[in-house]
């Protein structure tokens, strides 16, 4: 298992390098650039100096190399510096956003908590809803509960999140007035009242994402349970007189959770990317909103860095899912 992990980690390096190159080339070769947004009244020599100040006049391989160096050497060094008070990255050039002229990583660190609270809790709630539903609808296959569950799950992943979001806004903010339709990022949770306020403003985005995730995970849970319920060991367990509760919740559930856990791990990075839309609907000022704004403003370093971070997350969680599968299921051997 360890050699497998190491081999996969080593394989991930060229993959990630190639992905970063693809993203870089895509962003770079595209005709739209921040240079075209400099007003025409700016004299040519000033324009040339502005481009030079952004570092956009260098040939492409130098800029790509510089970006790699900054992302993999300078930024971790700054991270270590701020954590332990060392001075590894003394005055080195960081990746700087063309929009705000502040380091990209600082902005990302500012936005990350919003995304994490909303999306993280939505994912957890989605899983918590999905697993019991999946268990029960598999146990009572073709019962009315199962039929309704199947239908709701079908709706859950057919109706796009931007429509469920808007629908919830219409019902809960416009008609009932229970929840605010816009997420207030500046809210600080200090006492019980502000905590309630935070819960209320998180309710709708969490609901939208939780429904979407629960729909998918409950389907996986159901089919995985169904696979296991027909196995011989279940009959054996019943034959030795174990109670139904022990059979289903101990024997079957443990085995059925193996593929579901990997599906859950695989879903985490797609949540980050998919939440762009939900963040946009509820005006949550998280990573998705940051990416959209950077794209609108042709802020190439920001777009490049964010997309690459998403790619790293995908590769990382793919690896985690594979390793988890190997650990949980002793029948799976990678070497």
């Amino acid at each position: 298992m360890l050699t497998y992990t190491i081999r996969r980690l080593l394989l991930a390096i060229p993959t990630l390098l190639f992905i970063s190159l693809v993203i870089f080339l895509l962003v770079d070769f595209a005709p739209g650039s921040p240079m075209s947004q400099i007003p025409l009244t700016v004299p040519p020599d000033v324009r040339a100096r502005m481009i030079e100040a952004l570092g956009a006049n260098e040939p492409i391989h130098i800029r790509f190399g510089l970006w790699l160096y900054q992302f993999f050497i300078v930024e971790p060094a700054y991270l270590i510096d701020s954590a332990f008070g060392t001075s590894l990255a003394d005055g080195q050039q960081r990746i700087v956003s063309w929009q705000s002229r502040s380091p990209v990583m600082d902005i990302i660190a500012e936005r990350l908590p919003q995304t994490m609270t909303v999306i993280g809790s939505a994912y957890v709630i989605g899983v918590l809803i999905a697993v019991p539903i999946g268990i029960y609808s598999a146990y009572r296959q073709y019962s009315w509960f199962d039929q309704i569950g199947t239908f709701i799950a079908m709706i859950g992943f057919s109706v796009p999140t931007f429509f469920t979001g808007v629908l919830l806004i219409v019902v809960f903010s416009v008609w009932l007035g229970w929840f605010p339709s816009i997420y207030d990022t500046t809210l600080r949770v200090t006492d019980f009242e502000s905590f309630l306020k935070q819960v209320r403003q998180m309710a709708m985005p969490v609901m939208v994402l939780a429904l979407f995730n629960a729909a998918q995970i409950s389907r996986y849970m159901r089919s995985s349970m169904l696979d296991n319920l027909g196995q011989d060991y279940v009959r054996t367990a019943r034959a030795k007189g174990m109670s139904e509760k022990v059979v289903v919740l101990k024997h079957v559930l443990r085995n059925s959770l193996i593929p579901v856990v990997t599906v859950i791990a695989l879903g985490i990075p797609t949540i980050f990317a998919g939440a762009i839309i939900t963040e946009q609907v509820f005006k949550v000022n998280g990573l998705g909103a940051l990416l959209i704004n950077a794209i609108y403003a042709s802020d190439l370093p920001m777009v490049q860095t964010l997309t690459f971070i998403f790619a790293v997350l995908i590769v990382l969680f793919n690896l985690i899912a594979d390793i988890l599968y190997g650990i949980l299921d002793p029948r799976i051997r990678y070497d």
Binding site: L26, A30, I155, L167, V170, V174, A273, I276, S298, T307
Partner: protein, 317 residues
Amino acid sequence: MTDVAPKAAMLPKSLDDLRPPRSQWRDVWDQFRTHKGAMAGGFVLLFLVLFVLIGPMIWRIDPTFIDPDAVKMIRSRNLPPGWAHPLGTDQLGRDMLARMMAGGQVSIAVGLTAMLISLFLGTLVGVSAGYFKRLDGPLMRLTDLFLALPLLPLLLVMVMLFRDTLSRSFGAELGTFLLIVGAIGVTSWMQAARIVRGEVLALKEREFVLAARSIGTPPRRMILRHILPNVISPIMVAATLGIASAIITESALSFLGLGFPPDFPTWGRLLYDGIDYLQQFPERVMWPGIAISLTVLSVNYIGDGLRDALDPRIRGR
């Protein structure tokens, strides 16, 4: 004499027992018909397609028509549903029913075209990876790489960066259409490729392929005559599900403001435009949203039914 008797026993006793031979597609259709959700989905989809295709021939109001007379234009703004405008009018006095029909045409066209592109790419990659051993490694690495790309952000970047150039060379509508369809197609072929590759790898070990090869069939005809017809069922299932995801992606792009130009209605764009008037006229968000959801839901149900119908292990049970 000994081997005649069993033969005679196998013959049908009368001509009534001789049922007409049934084709494979007849069996598939019979199985498909028993799937209630798929049939309901089929009818809903048929209705929606008729609505967007035949509808404009009956409801002959130009979806982009704004009254040139300023007074009339202001009077015809934001009308509630009525006989003249069954779904009301928008903030510029354009008829919502006509816009829904026009928007549906674009959304469904985008879904179909993007699906065809991604299917073509997926089948090409899948068949070449499965059939030619030399290509298998590199092509599957490529597929894994594409699966590791963050797709929605990349789509956004692609649309944002290439929209203006393509609009200039092909016109705003056609340029955006080509860009969106191409971008969705290029970023969604991986699942189909993996499924097709798996099927081809299994097919290659079958006797009929060996027989075909032993009489000297060249690879091109091998693939077109023997391999492709046998992988058609997973491709069809992937195709239906591909339409659904392409429609969702297009409307998501339009929703983020990075889709078609503002005066060019698609369902996603109509929803996006309706958000500004959410408080006063929530129905303006509802109609396009319901249309998108119904289309995707019915297409997903049809995909479910197709998967059951095309699986010979389930069929006939």
